[in-house]
């Protein structure tokens, strides 16, 4: 696709997204669209670390949850605006990411992924037992006056839709800028051949930490949005491994290390989830996990480049060629 055609397609998609809720007024559909945008935003955020840098985290709910809890607690206890809380949550999540990234990045491949699962499980257990954070019961956010200033909208979900869209666009923009920067090149180099990257002067720790800090900050902003939309958070909904898996799945399904892959992955996954809900009934988390597991296996084996791989048609061929050349 030429650059101009790409820009045109992008603007058309944005326009479509902007008018969608005006054309489709059924609240259930609008809600599904919001969920899709939120899933896409988290997938794009995850992609900075998991896709570009190739460090597969299955603990990103820890950062999402940090964002949700920090902004909620600051607004409940200190009356801080959730918008400022969103920034505070992003900062705290970044700092937290650096603290856990430091030891976890010493582990490679699957061991890194397993360590991140442990992190999110530990955080969940700690919050479950911490009364001042609401414990296992969770936190109900006070019903503030509806409006932009308070980041609460009671009458219609529509504002949440546009905020989710804006956050997705912001996250995509950050991702785009990173990918074109020195850090972006270094992250891809680290993913492919860490030793070769080091021989060219790239500090693995430094750039992986940059990636996890940025990725965590963006995931945390998604957490604040979730808290403000639901006005209720608990460890089960914001600090779970299944949420972590979902963030990675959205990116893997769409295409890791590509800008728009996670957006496509989120659309497909949300459709599958809604479909399975209709088919199997209820919101049983069991069926969700079965679907996630099945998709991960299928894509890992048959389509590692994700849906984007089919679209560009370029990398699957390149992959096959590579396989032949390898001794």
């Amino acid at each position: 696709m030429s650059r101009r055609a790409g820009t045109a397609a992008l603007l058309a998609a944005l326009l479509l997204a902007a008018v969608f809720p005006l054309a489709v007024s059924r609240p259930a559909w609008q809600n599904t669209a919001i969920l899709m945008l939120m899933a896409a935003q988290l997938g794009v955020a995850w992609n900075i670390l998991g896709g570009y840098a190739g460090q597969v985290s299955l603990g990103h709910a820890a950062f999402f949850g940090t964002g949700a809890y920090v902004s909620s607690l600051l607004s409940m206890r200190l009356g801080l605006s959730p918008w400022l809380g969103m920034l505070a949550g992003a900062l705290v999540a970044s700092a937290f990411a650096v603290v856990i990234g430091w030891p976890c990045f010493r582990l490679k491949g699957h061991y890194f992924a397993m360590a991140t699962i442990a992190v999110v499980e530990i955080v969940q257990a700690v919050v479950n037992g911490w009364e001042r954070l609401g414990g296992a019961v969770g936190l109900y956010l006070p019903l503030a006056e509806s409006g932009f200033a308070g980041f609460v909208f009671n009458r219609s979900k529509l504002p949440y839709y546009y905020i989710a869209l804006a956050l997705l666009v912001l996250t995509l923009a950050v991702n785009w800028l990173v990918a074109r920067s020195r850090t972006g090149y270094y992250l891809r180099a680290i993913k492919d051949e860490p030793d070769a990257a080091r021989s060219l002067g790239v500090s693995l720790t430094r750039y992986k930490l940059q990636a996890i800090a940025l990725s965590a900050a963006l995931a945390a902003m998604g957490g604040t949005l979730y808290a403000q939309k639901e006005l209720f958070i608990d460890p089960g909904s914001t600090l779970s491994t299944s949420l972590s898996i979902k963030m990675s799945l959205v990116a893997i399904l769409g295409g890791v290390g590509t800008l728009f892959g996670p957006v496509i992955g989120a659309a497909v996954l949300t459709a599958i989830e809604e479909g399975s809900r209709v088919l199997f009934g209820g919101t049983g988390r069991g069926t969700d996990l079965v679907v996630y597991g099945l998709l991960i296996v299928l894509f890992a084996v048959y389509q590692p480049a994700g849906i984007m791989g089919w679209i560009t048609g370029r990398w699957p061929g390149a992959r096959a060629a590579r396989r032949e050349e390898e001794p």
Binding site: Y185, Y186, D192, L200, G201, A321
Partner: protein, 244 residues
């Protein structure tokens, strides 16, 4: 004047195995040194210690007068030592140009500037027309050349080449020889590990011969080719210099 690289009594042990023992040599500015020896002699291990991938068990490595033994690879690269890998390690998810840009970004932080330098480097090694191709599509010979280009893009003072001529056809070897010569002509010193004797003998200013971790000879190619110990350990009669 202190030499560019000064290696003194370099020793590297892996548990009970001594891969390098008391290896001492120097490399001067703009010099080509050949490093040869039988399989398992410890040539790649020397490179790994020089480039910061191994911390030596003993000994010292001074580069431009400063101790670099035990520094991490990224710090050694920043000081001006670049290397290639015996088994190529190109970035397969990137294009040829992007591979070289990763090297160029070390000295040029702005991406457009790094891209311009990377193109220059590709022109120098003759890979320019492959710039936009995915790196994984290159032939083995081209991949080795890409590794050299990428290393050159870091603007090193010393380049460590590990068997860049292995598996190449005779004409590709000639091209590689020519390339190493032109690299030296730019003032970059090279240490060249090679089994392909016609690739290294004609261009080396000095030859270093390793056997079972120890340096058994150090001298001009002519002398090395006629050294009975080297012939017995490695070369055989085939490379005895004509007329000797």
């Amino acid at each position: 004047m202190t030499p560019l690289l000064q290696v003194e009594r370099l020793t590297k042990r892996f548990g009970g195995l001594t891969a390098n023992e008391d290896v001492t040599f120097t490399v001067g500015e703009g010099e080509i040194a050949g490093l040869i020896g039988p399989n398992g002699a410890g040539k790649t291990t020397v490179f790994n210690s020089l480039a910061g991938f191994f911390a030596p068990s003993a000994g010292s490595i001074r580069f431009r007068g400063q101790e670099i033994a035990g520094l991490p690879p990224e710090a050694v690269a920043a000081r001006g030592v670049a290397r290639t890998f015996q088994i190529v390690r190109i970035f397969k998810g990137m294009t040829v140009l992007e591979n070289v840009m990763v090297g160029a970004l070390l000295r040029h932080r702005a991406v457009p500037e790094a891209a311009a330098r990377a193109r220059e480097a590709l022109r120098f090694t003759g890979l320019e027309r492959r710039a936009a191709d995915p790196a994984g599509r290159l032939t083995v010979a081209e991949q080795k050349r890409l590794e050299v280009t990428r290393a050159l893009a870091t603007e090193p003072r010393l380049l460590l080449l590990d068997e860049v001529m292995a598996g190449l056809t005779a004409s590709e070897v000639q091209e590689a020889v020519e390339m190493v010569r032109r690299i030296r002509d730019r003032g970059i010193a090279c240490v060249v590990v090679e089994h392909v004797m016609e690739g290294i003998m004609p261009i080396a200013d000095r030859m270093l011969v390793l056997e079972r971790g120890r340096l058994i000879a150090d001298g001009p190619p002519q002398a090395i080719a006629n050294d009975p110990a080297v012939i017995a350990a490695y070369l055989g009669e085939e490379y005895r210099a004509p007329g000797a």
